[in-house]
């Protein structure tokens, strides 16, 4: 009878193979990942790169979202206060125009209007995180400066007409600011100049051109209200875009998990199978290692 003289070598190499498989499966089971090196599944590794890239873009957008929401809220809140102040100014001017007030009352109203003007000017110079909100792109420069030397006083705009935008991951462009010259010193409804005119009108103790200027102030008030809508829209669009980015990131994370996740049930079954093979091989090796044909003959 011919006996394979290399059976130990062959069995050892078979044992090596099952051990390597067992190691691979155990690693999958402990890490929960289907592959640990790009050579294990090149296509999935490449897809993973693309997914990670997109998830990171979405995450970045979600992170800056809270900061940007803050900016828009501050802008909206400032414009809301401006509307309140202008309502008060219209009320004061209407009171001054009804012809029943004496000279000192009108001067008092002029002083009150100056207080309103200073408040509006301060709101126009609102900052968020050290950056001026109404300066166009010139967020590092005080947008409005007042010159009291002239009568009526003049306000100078130091910013520009640039509209800053934020682009969402899906390419939506969201307006982040209203340039100051568009709201406070617009050619059609110049808020600050009208306030200065009214102050000058009543400062002398007379009504001056108070009626015409009050009408202009009402127009300016409506104009500011309209402009505020733009910022409100931006707040809504930003919330929607942020929600969409978060949703997309979640979906992509699920896709990524599905891509790299090991099928635990399948891996466990394969591992049990491999262990059975290994045990069988070890038994064969030990059975062949002990005794001889004569032992079997004697029995």
């Amino acid at each position: 009878m011919r006996v394979d003289p290399f059976y130990v070598v062959n069995l050892s190499s078979a044992l090596d193979q099952t051990q390597a498989t067992q190691q691979q499966l155990s690693q999958e089971l402990s890490s929960g990942r289907r592959f640990s090196a790009i050579g294990d599944d090149p296509v999935a590794a490449a897809q993973n790169v693309q997914l990670l890239n997109q998830i990171q873009r979405d995450d970045s957008f979600t992170q800056i979202n809270s900061l940007t929401q803050g900016l828009l809220q501050v802008t909206d809140s400032a414009l809301g206060s401006v509307v309140t102040q202008l309502n008060q100014a219209v009320s004061l001017a209407t009171q001054a125009n009804n012809g029943t007030l004496n000279s000192s009352d009108l001067k008092a109203i002029s002083n009150q209007l100056a207080g309103v003007r200073d408040e509006v000017l301060s709101l126009a110079n609102t900052t968020y995180q050290g950056q001026y909100v109404f300066g166009g792109s010139q967020t590092g420069t005080t947008p409005f400066t007042l010159n009291n030397a002239t009568t009526p006083a003049t306000v100078t705009y130091n910013g520009d007409a640039n509209v800053n935008t934020l682009v969402s991951p899906n390419g939506q462009s969201i307006q982040l600011n209203l340039p100051g010259d568009q709201i406070f010193t617009s050619a059609t409804a110049n808020v600050l100049a009208t306030l200065n005119n009214l102050i000058a009108d009543y400062a002398s103790g007379g009504a001056g051109s108070g009626v015409a200027d009050t009408a202009a102030l009402s127009t300016a008030l409506n104009f500011v209200g309209q402009q505020r809508v733009t910022i409100d829209n931006s707040i809504n669009r930003l919330s929607a875009a942020s929600g969409a980015a978060t949703e997309e990131a979640t979906q992509l994370t699920v896709a990524q998990t599905n891509l790299v996740q090991a099928d635990i049930a399948s891996v466990s079954t394969q591992l049990a199978l491999t262990q059975s093979q290994q045990t069988a091989l070890i038994n064969v090796i030990s059975a062949l290692g002990q005794g001889s044909l004569f032992d079997h003959l004697q029995a």
Binding site: A37, Q50, S292, F294
Partner: protein, 188 residues
Amino acid sequence: MEIATRLSNEIARYLDLDTREIQLTSANMANNAGADLVGDNGNAGNIFNAPTQVAGSAHSLQVILTNPDKIAAAGLGLGTGDGSNALAAANLATQAIIGGQTPSNYYSNLVSTLGGTVSEATTENTALSASVTQLQSQRDALSAVNLNEEAGNLEEFQRSYQAASQVFTILNSVYASALNLGVETAVA
């Protein structure tokens, strides 16, 4: 020989990263096309070191920008609130600036190709190892001193010797039986 050629081709392909890195200077160009926080307008400086030669440029790539205020986010001539140049730089991610592909696609393809090569090499390694084992077995079966074979032979001779001595033991007992005329004694 075939494998050696293929490996040298693969290495050449990865070295090609150097030429790709040269094209990555788009990011530097972008940073020099805007205004930053410290008053630079079109001269904010490079983000990455500018490679002077192709060879080794990918390996020596590093960020040289130390002041984050020098990132030119605003467009040329615009104030610090503008982000148009930052948007232009972000848009590089979707432009075909590396070998006719977007950076993420290029990297993804590189990972895929490299992974494929690794996988191929692993498979070939397994196959060739099996082939080597088989050839070694064949050679050893013909010429070499195989310890297992020798051990097998040794076992065989030992068993033969045991068998032969068993014969002698039986013969001994037969002779003893004959000499003692069928009476079992202690005398052999």
